[in-house]
Symmetry: C2
Subunit: 320 residues, 2 copies
């Protein structure tokens, strides 16, 4: 008989998932008490939280439990590095039905642990509850190591806009899966398990990024957050964007616009930032420029090749 | 037409809930960026997380959105004070269906805000997603203000066990609601909205509590956590426990055992701690004593009046 959460029980599950956890030096009190205690030598802590819900953010037939764990950790850790910070620890809330195989929960946990260990991040606590659908909430923490946080509000006219990491791959993967296909494998894998360019966040901060965010809603949507917070206009040069071969293949097969994947696809967790021209780090691609708003193009606007981009825009929850 | 989350949209909801947020001095970057940044002058941060799921932790016909917000905040803030810490800030994840009236989400938010403001706690960030059932995840933070955390593992033979706050009221309220009744009102209100004795957590720490936890699973179950972590035996003297009149009324009406509510009912978020006899703070009630384990009663055991308590034990998720 398959062991389920109902037979393992809450305390059994907690014991199983906490047994193998690595514990960083900054973890003063780990799992097992009312709360955890972490050392914050920098005197400031960076904090982000995300909720993943079955059916909205993942489907059991599209993603393995392990993939869901990797993704849940990745999207939070990406938010931390997008502040220019170094991820240090995280807590996890997990809701699931009692008939879920315990192995599923343990694989999810392994995915969380493995993604965290890429960055030597400790899982320091959590909560497990019963729920009809699987829910995973992650709250992640990071250290600025003495630096100022890189906000969305610091872009200045004259800055260049640069990006690092994949754009549109996860969205192309989603388009493929939605049609019942499983290939090209590279984009399906990108949807299942993002590979954020973690090291580039602190690197951009050290290089002097004036603003930064991670691309979770889609490039244009997330640049819109920077343009609005910074009260500037951002123009993206479409020719500077790479449209990789697998995206072209998916676009051709599905009748979609390959550039649309790149401009509006989220969830690859690329990093986009603004820099004085001399500060753009090696390995980042300059894709546009920051300007002042004017009568025709008010501050807060993002344009593509100088014009409004009219295709479907970034992903917003609660709207379809 | 009723405005729903579908018409308000994610960004509309975020704008509405962040507009009125108070911002403490320790909040360096509040909502609106990839992550928040808080000042941690103590050099250590206390962290706890809880997930509340509709149908498991609350029912819309039993609790108002406002009550759910108060409760979600309270159960996390209670975990922070149970470490002897002062709550400082929290982040909130919120999942709900698109057809949920926007007013419901705003009332939930007001409940979170009002409970937080009791302790001058700032809500510093969050996430909103679409979900079939309502899900609320709260991660709360606190400062030890230079003190050592009060753990579950510090109880010593010879200590007295003392409690402050209500026991069994929420459970009695749940018993009433389950039978379709709405009175006694006092216990129903206790189920809907716990009133943890927040100030007593740091006070107990200052008084020298050797161990402490909040009563969320039930007195015997939570004392079991202390007994196990401290490798001691804890005996509760039933005569020292107050069985308030409304609990007796509910027990009489439902055929339940009133003392059972007190010993095994959770979710009132009383605080239970162990102290050297001279250290028990005013206002706390001594209800038992800590002893060494022996051949007949091994370490990790909780007894009532020297014997095993055989009625239903504390609440464990995934089991019914």
């Amino acid at each position: 008989m398959t062991e389920t959460l109902g037979s393992t029980g809450e305390f059994g599950l907690i014991a199983a998932v906490t047994r193998g956890l690595a514990r960083g030096e900054d973890v003063l009190v780990g799992p097992g008490d009312d709360a955890a205690v972490v050392a914050v030598p920098d005197g400031r802590l960076v904090i982000t939280t995300d909720l993943l819900v079955e059916g909205r953010h993942f489907r059991q037939d599209w993603s393995s439990a392990y993939d869901v764990g990797r993704k849940a950790a990745a999207q939070n850790l990406s938010d931390i590095v997008a502040m220019g910070a170094r991820p240090t620890s995280m807590v996890v809330g997990f809701g699931a039905p009692a008939d879920l195989p315990t192995a599923w929960a343990l694989e999810l946990n392994q995915g969380l642990v493995d993604e965290a260990e890429l960055l030597e991040v400790s899982i320091i606590g959590g909560d497990t509850v019963q729920s009809d659908k699987i829910v995973v909430s992650v709250t992640a923490f990071g250290s600025l190591d003495g630096r100022a946080p890189v906000l969305r509000s610091g872009a200045r006219p004259g800055d260049e806009v640069a990006v690092v990491g994949r754009l549109g791959w996860a969205e192309a993967g989603y388009a493929v899966l939605q049609r019942g296909f499983r290939s090209p494998r590279s984009v399906v894998e990108a949807h299942r398990r993002p590979q954020p360019p973690y090291a580039e966040g602190p690197r951009a901060a050290i290089a002097g990024a004036s603003s930064m965010c991670d691309v979770s809603d889609g490039l244009l949507s997330d640049l819109g957050h920077i343009a609005e917070a910074s009260q500037v206009v951002i123009d993206v040069r479409s020719r500077a964007l790479t449209v990789a071969e697998p995206l072209q293949a998916v676009a051709a097969a599905t009748g979609a616009d390959a550039l649309g994947f790149v401009l509006t696809g989220g969830e690859d967790h690329a990093l986009v930032g603004t820099f004085e021209p001399a500060d753009v780090p090696d390995g980042w691609t300059v894709i546009g420029a920051v300007a002042e708003g004017n009568e025709n193009v008010p501050a807060g606007t993002v344009t593509v090749d100088g014009a409004a981009y009219t295709a479907v825009s970034g992903h917003a929850h609660f709207r379809s």
